[in-house]
Amino acid sequence: MNLHKKHSISPYLGGAGIGLISIASIYFFGKTLGTSSTFTRIGGAIQYVVDSEAFSQMTAYTKYLKNAPLIDWQFALVAFVFIGSFIAARMTQYTPPTVPKIWKETIGSSEALRHAAAFIGGIIIIFGARIAGGCTSGHVISGGLQLSVAGWLFMASFFVSGVATALLLYRKKG
């Protein structure tokens, strides 16, 4: 293990590990890595509690929840990504900054602004993920390693717009 300020293990090793668990996931469980549909499921559960009549009319939800469980393989995966990261952070004694360095250098130190931007960014990213039918785990990693055109096309699209947006947004002050 090389202990570097930026990462506790080499990103090549980490990525290779992710490749290995993707293979294992496909071979042993017939499943691919993914995360974004879990957020639709959570939204659906909330909608169901708030108004089950409306819920049953909403195709975006019934597509996933009509005949399939809410807390499924992917839901468990997402929940345990949280736990796995928590354990890894504790073991490497990592504490995150209150405001990320790049944000502080380019936009400011206001935590409230950062939190608001994260909330809004979350809304936008999930829109993108649902329209595309996947995210970095589902399309880029799972699709990418299967040489899926959908995966590579998604990767190209988000990378171009992501780089353009980031370069515009995060410019050093003064």
Partner: protein
């Protein structure tokens, strides 16, 4: 609504997720600065992780396919318009949020408060999306160029060549990155 999948389903998902989350955190990609560092082209950690996963994963999956150990790939069938439009929106969101959905959850796990707001945004956003679903899906073109199509089929070249090219090209790119110390 059915609430729970089978215990074996949940346990296997949990195991994969646990390792995935740990690897994301340890590789340093559960951080705003790493991801935005990538999107501002200063830090190539994200690309290193993604490409390494794709190289190892594609060699593994295509070997399994060759050996007959797996019957078929598990591909998503989606209209290319949706992928491109969705991808563009995703990129904008990723730049503002500073994470992708998976790394956002991982970042929240390591204690980043902004990532927790991001999760709330993603849940809220999925509800807004569900309300707009009917008119959005109508607007998305129904031409489906990408259903069950892989690069080898598209280019009419044996998969082995594509897998080898990705690995060789990727490793050459890694060498270049290390040379420029990115």
């Amino acid at each position: 609504m059915i609430i729970f999948a089978s215990i074996s389903s949940l346990l296997s998902g949990a195991l994969i997720g646990l390792i995935f989350g740990a690897l994301l955190q340890l590789s340093g990609v559960a951080k705003f600065d790493t991801i935005v560092g990538q999107l501002t082209l200063r830090d190539f950690t994200v690309l290193k992780v993604i490409m390494s996963a794709i190289i190892v994963g594609s060699i593994g999956v295509y070997t399994l396919l060759e050996m007959g150990a797996i019957d078929a790939l598990l591909l998503k069938a989606l209209p290319s318009t949706g992928i491109i439009v969705g991808g563009i929106i995703f990129g904008i969101g990723m730049a503002i949020l500073g994470y992708c959905p998976g790394t956002c959850v991982a970042s929240a796990g390591q204690g980043s408060i902004d990532a927790m707001y991001g999760i709330a945004g993603m849940v809220f956003g999925s509800m807004v999306y569900a309300y707009s679903y009917e008119w959005i899906s109508k607007a998305i073109n129904a031409i489906d160029l990408t259903s069950h199509v892989t690069l080898d089929a598209l280019l009419n070249v044996p998969a082995t060549y594509i897998v080898a090219s990705v690995a060789i090209g990727g490793i050459a790119f890694f060498a270049f990155l290390e040379y420029i110390d990115a």
